[in-house]
Each structure stands twice: as structure tokens, then as C-alpha cells.
């Protein structure tokens, strides 16, 4: 009985150590748990698979490095898919750290032969929050007269014939907060929009897919892993999924421990009270 009661009082540092172990071990020795593809990822993939080589998409970076572990794997998976299919990417940033994050992700493709200004460009960050977003969604060159690297945007070949979002084939945003800003400011423009949001923001973003304001939704590491699988390019996100599964199992076990202890304590208290009466 005492052992069962103590299950609810395990030092949280024990839980933390166990959590570190169950997250680290599968990273070193993957188990290979099968990953099923969710409806949302399929929908987003179907939308992006309609793009033809030479089409241009806008990728909006709206996350901080803090949210990167959950959102960045989606950006990596999408970049790999789009660049492999020779789709052109224009990056813009609602967030001050966005241009630096985008540069880091674009660098490997530049090194492997993609040409800046023709295959991709990084327009940088515009201060002003949603007002800035509304402005650059409607007129990229006017809002960003110069790109992040200091080039005059009107001279970039990738931007020839493109004024705003409706002149591109898709708008993909990556964010570690809510999707609402994009739905409000880009939603009424004639461009399919795909949201890549941090996992905890998923319930808030899902109504926008139902309403048709978003054409697809990718949420956190799980969606990144699913996207890697549907595009036949398994990478870091797939490897991290085993760790996530084991982590969830461990937390569930501890929740069960806590409840066993709670019910044992309660039954003992009740028995004690009946004894007194």
C-alpha cells in the first residue's frame, strides 16, 4: 500500500532524468515506429504537389529561434521538396529573426547550385506587424525596395512580373504563434495559403482549414515527419518521432502513477474516517 501511495510523490527530477533518457536513446538508436499520414498533411501535400517547375511561392518566416525545434523541420522538408522540383522561393519575414533563419536554410541550396535572385531570394524583415504583412502581401517590391543582401528588388529576375501574393502560386507561412495574422491579412487575396504552425497552435488554426481560409495545415514536428515521408525524403523529423512516442508513453505512465497514488490515499482517508465514526 505504501509503495502505491509513494507513486504519487516521486521527485520530479527523477521524471526529468527519465524523460531525457527516453528522448535521447531513440535519437541514437532509432526504433522505427511506423508513422501514419494525417488528413491535414495529405491536404497540404496535395496543394503543393500541384505546383509546376518554374512556379514561384512565397515563404513567410514568422517564428523565432525559440520555436525553431518544432517549426523549422517543416520549413526544411518543404524547402527540400520545392527546390528538388525546381520551384522558385521568395522568402519574407514577419519576424525580426526571420531573415537570418531563412538565410541559414537557403545556404545549402545556394552552395549546391541554386542561384540567388533567380531561383530564390530573401527579401528580409519588415517592422510593423500585421500592417507590414498586409503591405508586402500586396506589393513586395514597394514594401521591400532592397532585399536582405542589399540588392535592389526591382532588378531581381525572380520578381519580374510579380507584384504581390496573387501573382504567385502559393503562400506558405511558418509561425510559432497563431495563424490569425495571415488569415486576416492574406486570406482575402487570391492565393492558396498553407500554414505551418507550432504544435500547440494547431487547435486554433484548424478552424481556418475547415472554413477554407487555409488550403493546408502542417503542425509541428509530426507534420514535418509526415511530409518527409510523403515526399520520400526521410530526414531529421522522422528520426525524432520515436523519441516523441516514447516521451508521451513515459508521461502517460507517470500520470497513471499519480492517479493510483491519489485513489489509494483517498480510500485510506475514507477508511480512516469510517473508523473514527
Amino acid at each position: 500500500m505504501d509503495v502505491l501511495m509513494k507513486l504519487g510523490d516521486i521527485d520530479k527530477r527523477v521524471l526529468y532524468v527519465l524523460l531525457v533518457l527516453v528522448l535521447l536513446i531513440p535519437m541514437v538508436r532509432p526504433i522505427g515506429i511506423r508513422i501514419s499520414i494525417s488528413h491535414w498533411t495529405t491536404k497540404a501535400y496535395e496543394q503543393l504537389s500541384r505546383l509546376e517547375p518554374g512556379d514561384t511561392v512565397i515563404c513567410d518566416f514568422g517564428y523565432n529561434v525559440d520555436g525553431a525545434p518544432d517549426v523549422e523541420p517543416i520549413a526544411k522538408a518543404i524547402f527540400r521538396d520545392l527546390f528538388d522540383r525546381n520551384i522558385k522561393i521568395i522568402t519574407v519575414s514577419l519576424n525580426a529573426q526571420g531573415p537570418m533563419i531563412a538565410e541559414k536554410l537557403l545556404l545549402p541550396y545556394e552552395e549546391s547550385g541554386k542561384v540567388y535572385g533567380t531561383d530564390f531570394c530573401n527579401l528580409g524583415f519588415m517592422a510593423g506587424g500585421e500592417t507590414a504583412l498586409a503591405a508586402y502581401a500586396r506589393d513586395l517590391k514597394r514594401t521591400f525596395p532592397r532585399d536582405w543582401r542589399g540588392n535592389t528588388t526591382s532588378t531581381l529576375p525572380i520578381l519580374q512580373g510579380i507584384t504581390g501574393a496573387p501573382d504567385t502560386k502559393a503562400w506558405i507561412f511558418f509561425t510559432d504563434s497563431s495563424a490569425e495574422a495571415w488569415v486576416r491579412q492574406v486570406g482575402d487575396l487570391d492565393v492558396p495559403m498553407i500554414g505551418a504552425v507550432i504544435t500547440v497552435a494547431a487547435p486554433q488554426a484548424e478552424p481556418f482549414v475547415h472554413s477554407g481560409q487555409l488550403s493546408g495545415l502542417l503542425t509541428g514536428l509530426r507534420s514535418a515527419a509526415e511530409y518527409e515521408i510523403v515526399t520520400n525524403r526521410p530526414g531529421g523529423a522522422v528520426a525524432a518521432m520515436d523519441a516523441q512516442s516514447l516521451g508521451h508513453i513515459l508521461i502517460t505512465i507517470f500520470i497513471v502513477f499519480g492517479n493510483i497514488s491519489y485513489f489509494v490515499k483517498r480510500s485510506k482517508e475514507l477508511a480512516g474516517r469510517e473508523g473514527v465514526q
Binding site: K12, D70, P203, E206, N259
Partner: protein, 207 residues
Amino acid sequence: MKREVPIIVTTVAGIFMILEYFHNIPGLANGAKELQNWAILVAAFALALAAINLAARHLRNITARHQNAVHSGLLLASMFATVIAGIFFGTDARAFVFIFDNIITPCGSAFYAMACFHLASAAYRAFRAQSGQAAALLITGIIVMLGRAPIGDLIHPYLPKMATWLMQVPNLAGMRAIMISSAIGMIGVSLRIITGIDRTHLGMGQE
């Protein structure tokens, strides 16, 4: 006058921005852009004021030989190093990129990861089936947690379906209700501020 001026400024700016959002009146857009530029300027001054407060507080800690004086020293040193790197060498210079890639990024990721540990201990501490409602929260929480991880399929093929149903039906209904009522509440707060009904933020609290 001290009371009226901020309210008048708020009302005029608020109405102007609303008009600009809903109307295509020539000149309004430029005016709104100008107002936003002013807001950025005000924010810059506010940042200076806040930075002075931060520096003064930590300088006080150092001069008073407070037990956390070392932390304050570290904070000031890193703050000034980042400011100097950003202002004098630019945000694309090697010094600033080094700070961003090697300090800000890993620290940010580490803190994000810390939420996972706190989440685990919060679940262990607080998820008790003390009542019917708490039991419902506990059971749905476990179903969603397991059903949304790849292991859910292995435990039972129906588990991911249950998790998806829970997220897309009852959860979505609740989320929408909170979103709609919060949105109306937010519009209400904004209108109360624009009309001067709410003025606590101006230091004019009610008796």
C-alpha cells in the same frame, strides 16, 4: 488637460485607423502609414527607457554587491556586446551572426525544450481524476497524447482516430466558442479604450 489630451489622441488615432482599414479614401493610407511610423518612433524611445531601467537595476545590484551581482554583470556584458555588434558592425556582420547562431539560437531552443519537462511534471502533478470533469480531462488528454504520436497506431488502430475526432469535434467547438467570445471581448476592450471609457492604462484608475 493632463487627463483629456491622451484620451483625445487615442480617440482620433483609433477612429483614423478604423476608417483607413475599411475605406479606400485617397490619402488615408498615407496618413495611416505616417501614424505607424510615429508608433515605431515612440517604441524606439520606450525601448531606450526600458533599457535604461534594465541597466540601472543591474548596475545597482553590482554596486550594492548583491548576492546575484555576478549574474547582473553577465547580463550587462552580454547586453552591451550584442548592442555594439549590432549597431557598429550591422546585423549581417560576423560578430552579430556569431552571437545569433551560437548563443541566442541554442539558448532559445533549450528554453523551448524546457517546456517539455515542465509539461511532464505539470501533468504528473495536476492530472488527477478528482471529479467527473477532471477524469474527462485526464482521459481525453491521454487519448490525444498517445493518439497523436506514432505509437498510437501500435497501441490500437482506433486510438489515432479517436484523438482526431476529439480534436476536430469537441475541441474545435470549444475553441471556436472561446475564439468568438474573445474576439468580441477584444473589440469591446478596443472600443472602450478608443471612446475613453477604459482609461486605467493612462494612470486614471477608478476610485
